[in-house]
Symmetry: D2
Subunit: 451 residues, 4 copies
């Protein structure tokens, strides 16, 4: 297929073309609908500034909707020669609608189209991840409540330290997920800037209305400086990917804990049988492979993040083709993170604390600090009490684990996990998200009904 | 010196002690004042819950202020045997104030002390970086305004693309710096949570008042779940370091541009002679080493970031000693980023666009798109106009570069860089920062006057 | 399909199964033939120790060859439920050959099968990369010879420094490619150890003959300690990937140079038109996208490398499922590196130095050092000569660039690039590789003819 | 102090100078002796080609030896203004020996001096690391022998898998250390090329004798192409750092194992009390901090490695000042790796397997595979035997762990760890190293006695 930039017979060497376009041919179909959205808004704006007639806009809109239909039926796939989704769509429009199709590219460049597409794609995916992260927080918070009164040894340096609870352990990850929401929000906000109109990187000598397309596409503001629009390619992606990295990092840590807690030596949790696999050689094995694979995924996401940072890092100003290689890690990063969150939710819902084992694990040494505090309460300075207990560990009597948990009643202690407050926060965040989702849906509906 | 945890004669093997503590011995003096602040708030709270008498608090406060004085005179340095700043301070307090010193460690652990110290250190440093980044944005924005009307070729794929201006180039980095402010704010906010009271990682069976120490230390909120407090060690640092990474990434990109623009082939900028170095072998050389070293620093910051992420990534829940190795990259990361921003400000203030060279560089090919738009204005569809100009490049007449710049008058185009708006934003952000700085200063003053 | 480890009705949760196996389902077909090779050798050895009868071996060999045939016709693809290639093959063998199929897994584990497969895959791919790297060195060396006498400015700090030549520039990359061969050889050697017999990670209580399978599969030696075999999973891959990283790093650097040298400001090379692309908006553009994409690929390979290192880094001893995630970067890393080398060879063969431009670029300042040496030859100490020339740069007379090049006649100077020696080295290395390739082919033939 | 390149009054802006030189001022004293060695060889060569008279060489040699003496007494430290060690040394020579000092820089550049210094530094340090790695292998191999007959559960997926032994566990790391020796050797070989004479990056128009300085400095060969010499800056360092990364990666993995094996739940090893630390809050704690800090160090080394790779990755050909930032991670990487190996050796020598605990840990499930093989020996196909045992795990009778270990008598099985062979290999490698060390010492002695 002819390229937009082909002015005569010399075609690109086919080996070179394959090398240059093969990633896009695989990935760009994920951007089809966003390219259509952008084209709709752009064409509408061109109408407003008199480049395209209202009638031509109608023709283009119909052709663009055909693409959406084909895409829904998975019939708009790219093949070798199509170069990228932008070329394919312009060629389709020219074939389908003639002259109006030849006008659509006025005042825009594929550089800002792809930038726009990635912003819209990022927005849609961030909304998904945002919801999934809240769901994870919600599930973890419920488990924290459910197991609030089940004692569990607390570890530091991987050694028994002080009394903890299964509730505290789940709650720690719930709160961390809520902090991650802040990273998602910052990424969402920085992504929510309209780059359209930056053209190749330096704007265009035409009186385009960037504010209008910004509004039509539902962005919060126009990203101002045209060159900055292009320079932020990769930057915004890396900020998004950093939020995903933190999400998967927490899940990896949780999976690491689960791996340790489900060894036969610790044996703290029972894992649903449909979540364990056996060995092809050892008849007795029941492995928690799912936790291992959740543990490892953070490294994959980190490598996507680093790839984006590294590609972006040393490029000079203005568009550079190298940026194309940030697409794959960006798109795959979202897919993988969604799967990881989904699996993490499934996993935590399918492990059950073994009360008896945990009770036995609450050995006396865990209460040494509490004992020292007993002496403190009788007036002994802590450092002396510490020494005394330290030299007489055997003097620790039997303690009721549950009562002990309840003694830590300060904020965030085992006796006061503050779960209701976390629930309130989660619900508050869900409302915010809900508003954003509705705004987005409304934007798309309005866009498709432009005339 | 005796360790807090030493209960009898067996000391740590000295080789092991050296290996374990040498980084802390070098770095912990940077945390001294923050450990004192935390100790003041903690001791005051212990008074309120009846562990320490008001009189004992007075004694401790005096001893703690002595430490501040010694620290100011650089006389509180750690030496081999001191282990870390927490041990050194408790030992000092016991020596200096006796029994009250033996009480100070009630209900706290070195684990939450270091966590707290790093939060306070991070807060103070983030406020500095925040200010420096705004200053950089401000300088860049002024240069954007100053050189708004100096044309410069705009590049894509490192090839001449369309007309740009020196003002657009500076402006792109100003806007990027403003986006970085959002990352700094998010990091600031997540860092602004009080971990004190998390103790070893699991809270304490004593009725401590975490809300009180939170308020005394000027944090926005208590970080709730005790285990999460410790699990967030490294996490918060990585979020901060990510903001620093983006700042240095922009500066590196700007330095890369400067390296290209100051080659003798491009020759767009004149660099102040006191900013260039020569060669020991080649008499004619004038190198812009400073730009090279600003270009490279992002890799150093990235390695600090990655180190923190990687150390944190695979650790199980609860405190682990590995975290100690995140201190060095965290502390050095701040120092280096401050220097990099300072140097970047110096550098951009010492390069001057060469008007004549830039004028000559505005060759006809840069106007090919503009010419095509000329045909578009006459009614020709863009794709046809593109073909026509593409096959007749020689037909491009002489164009007045400055007038051409002005034709891009859409938002963020060369004719409308929107500088006033950026100035407004910068001033707005300066006010926000100013408020934060004053709050922080007031908190510290109040803290030192507790009684 | 039933899993090898399924002992009764409980199947794995299908969502979990999809998450756990989806990468293997996509990638494992690349390992089919290697799994067959390993199975042939293993079965033969089981015959020698009396577990399988010679007749049963014959049956198994026929079934295994059927798999090879199916695989050649691309008819042995994995689908959901197949789990991995090892499971699929054992199930096929049991279906196809009955009882002998049920015996094939005696004394082995999927853990050592995958380890073995990756070694064999790595060997075959390393031989390919080895050859391609030599070809690249060879092409670069020829270009170095061809353009030995074309002067070109030499740059340091991106500023004109001293006279260089196009030949020296190409030659630098030829020599670097030869150093990379050493890394490939080390990787090849460490990969050339037979892990078969390590079983799950701890060997088997059966008198297997590991030396025999090692010999049959053409490995140089048995990797001894069974646990080390499994612990080296990821380690060997990272050593291989490091060699690929260096190869792509050189190509990225060369592409960076080409990007600079083909700017209109430098304009040193002419690029074959079928290697440049245009812009969809700017009619005049001719971009060297291929160089940009070669420049960026090193970051992709680096991310594969880092992924493998990071996954491997924190795992405890013995097999862990996390290792599965090292397969994708390992397999894709080879594919991508091969393409990158192929494209680099194509690119350098399609750029031509512009003699006239280069001649004009040989400005006087490049000869300042030579002039200082002129004074040195007259007896002036160098530092004085340097000062004198440095203060009188205008005194540099016109110099004949070519004669100047020839004056650097020391080893590796522009007048003595030592190309013949490099040619000799390349030929020597080609012979070594040729021997390895033949050995490998012979091994496979013998293996397929075992009886 | 005046810079070599200062031709008149304009000095570098002092803020810029501080930023540009501060790392070198801290680090370059580690290169002093190597700069002296290089200067000796270079001056001698200049004598042979008639630039310096034999008498002048004598003067220079004496001045250079003065520097060595000062350096030994730590009296040749750099201070602000000295720029770098090369400038400091030339200035010293000019002050100390007058005219000959002004000649020393003929035909060389600081660019190839620093390249040379780093090669010589790298050589000396690699010889140290090589020896330390062999010592680690040796200690681990001895422990493998010592504990060959102490059973220990073998784990896969962190679940009990099959019988292993403490000897197998130690032996796995011994063998891995031996593989690392191959990486050290490759790094040593690639580092063992003389770059001297590459000058700024493009050689010199003087008839220098590169082969002579190569021989005098003990390099194996001249690194040919002058430009490649400079382009290999960073490349060689990254190859060396990769070897260090693998060494620390193994130690980190071993430390991770130790952390798990010393939890109270596993409790497999007794750690010497002088290797554990307590807690400031919990009287009962005994933590193995040393293992945690060995576990974390790999991330520091990895960050050094990545820093070098990343700085080097995007630079164009020829010397760039960015390279300066590779010095710190390179130099610190060696120091840290040496300490890590030393500590690892100390740690493994101070942990003792707890025989009783380990014996109890050898539970029946570990023998399921062995039982299945029992049925195999009676003629049942393995897959059937597997099913039968899998459904009747309780049927596993008591087994003698030690006899069971001995049953795995194939190469690398628990009954045949092949320790003697490993010992032989270690001794063989020690001889190779010994030869290299002696060669190096002899080279230095000869160099100092040149006349």
């Amino acid at each position: 297929m002819k390229k937009l930039w082909q002015k005569n017979q010399e075609a690109l060497n086919p080996l070179v073309e394959r090398f240059e376009t093969e990633n896009d041919l695989l990935l760009d179909h994920k951007l089809t609908k966003f390219d259509v959205y952008g084209s709709l808004a752009h064409a509408y704006m061109l109408t407003k500034i008199g480049i395209i007639s209202p009638k031509e806009f109608g023709v283009l809109r119909n052709s663009l909707k055909k693409i959406l239909d084909l895409d829904k039926k998975d019939s708009f796939k790219l093949k070798f020669g199509d170069e990228d989704i932008h070329t394919k769509i312009e060629n389709f429009l020219i074939n389908d609608s003639g002259k109006p199709g030849e006008k659509i590219h006025t005042a825009r460049s594929r550089n800002d189209q792809v930038l726009l597409n990635l912003r819209l794609f990022g927005k849609e995916k961030l909304l998904e991840i945002w919801g999934e992260t809240l769901q994870l927080a919600s599930v973890l918070n419920s488990l924290s409540q459910k197991f609030e009164e089940i004692p569990m040894p607390g570890y530091t340096h991987m050694q028994k330290a002080m009394p903890s609870s299964v509730g505290m352990w789940f709650g720690a990850y719930a709160e961390s997920a809520l902090d991650n929401i802040q990273l998602i929000k910052t990424a969402f906000e920085l992504n929510n800037q309209s780059p359209l109109g930056s053209a190749a990187s330096y704007g265009v000598p035409l009186p385009i209305d960037r504010q209008l397309v910004c509004k039509l596409l539902g962005f919060e503001k126009v990203q101002n400086n045209s060159l900055y629009c292009q320079n932020s390619r990769g930057k915004i992606e890396s900020i998004i990917m950093f939020a995903l990295l933190q999400i998967t990092l927490d899940i990896s840590k949780m999976a690491s804990d689960i791996m340790i807690f489900t060894t036969s030596e610790f044996n703290f949790f029972d894992v649903n049988k449909t979540f364990t696999s056996g060995s092809s050689i050892m008849p007795q094995k029941k492995n928690v492979d799912i936790a291992e694979l959740l543990r490892s995924k953070v490294h994959v996401i980190e490598s996507y993040f680093t790839q984006i940072i590294n590609i972006t890092k040393n490029l000079p100003s203005g568009y550079n083709r190298d940026s194309q290689d940030t697409k794959k890690p960006f798109i795959e990063g979202f897919d993988l993170t969604s799967k990881v969150i989904e699996m993490a939710i499934l996993l935590v819902a399918n492990i059950t604390p073994k009360k008896d084992v945990l009770k036995k694990a609450m050995t006396e040494d865990l209460y040494a600090t509490e004992k020292a505090y007993g002496l403190v309460k009788q007036g002994m300075p802590f450092r002396q009490a510490y020494m005394e207990i330290g030299q007489n560990l055997s003097a620790i009597d039997d303690i009721n684990p549950l009562e002990s948990l309840k003694m830590s009643k300060h904020i965030g202690g085992t006796g006061n996990l503050n779960i209701k407050n976390t629930t309130r926060q989660i619900n508050f965040e869900k409302k915010i998200l809900n508003t954003k989702q509705k705004e987005y849906q409304k934007t798309i509906i309005n866009l498709l009904n432009l005339n």
